[in-house]
């Protein structure tokens, strides 16, 4: 046996294997940075770890964001619901406030007038849109009769055409079959309003010599007592006078729009009330005051009704021979 006959390569490998940890331990003992041979590995590892870290934190972040989003979504839904509820409540409060204002105005008007009025609510409109009528929730049980006037604080609405026990059909001024005896407030010229089914009126059978100007207020004549005297109907928007003929007519814009009617008054008794006396005091009739102060542009229209001389009562239009001979008069009107 050859004791010295050994494999040199094996010995070198053993030495290297044994020496490497020793060298490594010795090098670690030394302070400072990592040894050169570790650098690539540590860079790679740190890169990997960083990536993993980023990845997991990303996932965690996304997950938590998603989880939060679910929560936020729920919260958002609940807040939206709450917001809608609050808005609805606010809307109903606003509605109540407006209703309260309207009703207060109506009550104030009712208290300050001599007329016997009955408040009514609009419950329906006409079946046929080519006719302008409404139904109110008062009938003959409450004393309603045909031709009784229907008004609001602002002006004339129409009159009753038929009554049932607890409701009544009211034809609006703007219906083509509705007609009301009227006066031009400034000059006391007398005529008859006819609806045109297009939200406007015609003031017909005015005598040719009558002074009527754009902007004049048209009011009720108060004859027959279905309406109070001097209650606003509308404002003249144009005057039409042909070259021939004995009468003239004017287009009138009604002061009350049918499209926003909710509560009205039935004139049970007009009590000979004359609103012509109250125009200058601004009594509860803002629109009428506006008509009188702002839109009368004629030379003699500057004064209010109190300064306008009260004319002697004019004859009924139906009794005027010149008018009745020119155009057949409709049936008696309120």
């Amino acid at each position: 046996m050859n004791f010295f006959a050994f494999d040199l390569r094996k010995i070198l490998v053993v030495i290297a294997v044994v020496a490497l940890p020793i060298i490594s331990i010795n090098m670690k003992r030394a302070p400072g940075e990592a040894p050169w041979y570790q650098k690539p590995f540590s860079w790679t590892i740190s890169l990997m770890q960083d990536s993993y870290s980023n990845f997991t934190s990303g996932v965690r972040g996304t997950t938590s964001m998603y989880m939060n989003l679910i929560g936020i979504k729920r919260q958002n839904q609940s807040l939206l619901r709450e917001n809608e509820e609050l808005r609805a409540q606010l809307g109903s409060i606003e509605e109540l406030k407006l209703e309260n204002q309207r009703l207060s105005k109506l009550l104030e008007f009712r208290e300050q007038t001599k007329m016997k009025l009955l408040a009514a609510k609009v419950i329906a409109r006409d079946l046929n849109p080519d006719h302008e009528s409404i139904r109110i929730n008062r009938g003959y049980r409450e004393g309603l009769r045909k031709l009784q006037g229907i008004i609001t604080v602002n002006g004339v609405v129409g009159y009753v055409v038929s009554t049932q026990m607890d409701s009544a059909q009211v034809i609006l001024l703007t219906d083509r079959s509705a007609s009301i005896d009227a006066l031009v407030q400034r000059t006391r010229a007398r005529g008859l309003t006819n609806g045109r089914s297009s939200g406007s009126l015609r003031l017909r059978y005015l005598e040719r010599a009558d002074d009527v100007a754009v902007g004049d207020a048209v009011v009720t004549s108060g004859s027959k007592g279905y309406f109070p005297k001097g209650f606003p109907i509308g404002r003249v928007t144009s005057v039409r006078k042909t070259d021939f003929g004995i009468s003239q007519e004017a287009m009138v814009e009604p002061v009350v729009s049918a499209s926003n009617l909710e509560e009205v008054f039935v004139v049970i008794e007009s009590g000979n009330e004359d609103f012509g006396d109250r125009l200058s005091t601004g009594f509860g009739l803002p629109l009428l005051s506006k008509i009188n102060s702002g839109t009368n542009s004629g030379p003699s229209s500057g004064g209010s009704a109190s300064t306008t001389p009260k004319p002697t009562p004019l004859p009924q239009p139906a009794a005027t021979p010149s008018v009745s001979s020119a155009t057949p008069r409709p049936k008696p009107t309120p």
Partner: protein, 187 residues
């Protein structure tokens, strides 16, 4: 025989009730929700349905009864309302003998046409009516007509479904099949 008569009367009574409900909905409920925006003429699909599914005699009788029921809801003269509704119903019957297909689109088309026809008949009729306080319709609101002619067909299918259901309930489904020869025409 008695039972058949009873069912026939019951059928008309239920139709009348539906007419009342729809008329009220059109004049009151619609106003509460949509204000004065033109409402669909909800009674016209009923008239159209009756005209399509009943004999001429029945159509005339039912239409007149319906007109009387509807009359308090309008200031339109009763007579004129009856003439207009009758005109619509009979026109639908004549139209059906010429053109007919069994589908919801047919009733929608007929309902839309009925709206236009009703307004035209009303306008024409208003010039012929001679009543002290009645004035002819000289300035029709065409925009309202158009809106109604578009809305009414949309409301028609559920109404027709309800009426067919009532017909089935009261054993009236065969009426459709038996009426073709009444005008001497065919589909």
């Amino acid at each position: 025989m008695m039972r058949e008569k009873f069912l026939r009367l019951l059928n008309i009574a239920i139709f009348a009730l539906v007419l009342l409900l729809l008329t009220s909905a059109q004049t009151s409920l619609w106003m509460q929700i949509f204000g004065y925006f033109p409402a669909p003429l909800l009674w016209l699909p009923i008239i159209a349905y009756v005209a399509i599914n009943r004999t001429p005699l029945e159509t005339i009788i039912i239409t007149q009864i319906f007109s009387l029921i509807m009359a308090p809801a309008t200031v339109m003269p009763e007579g004129l309302l009856m003439i207009c509704n009758l005109g619509v119903a009979l026109s639908v019957q004549v139209f059906k003998t010429r053109i007919y297909w069994n589908a919801a689109t047919y009733i929608m088309m007929v309902s839309g046409g009925s709206v236009v026809l009703f307004h035209l008949l009303h306008m024409l009729g208003s010039f012929m009516v001679r009543m002290p306080d009645y004035q002819p319709l000289t300035s029709p609101s065409l925009s309202d007509w158009i809106v109604q002619a578009m809305l009414t067909p949309l409301a028609a299918p559920p109404i027709i479904w309800l009426l067919s259901f009532i017909d089935r309930l009261t054993g009236r489904e065969m009426a459709v099949e038996n009426m073709e020869d009444s005008w001497g025409g065919s589909r």
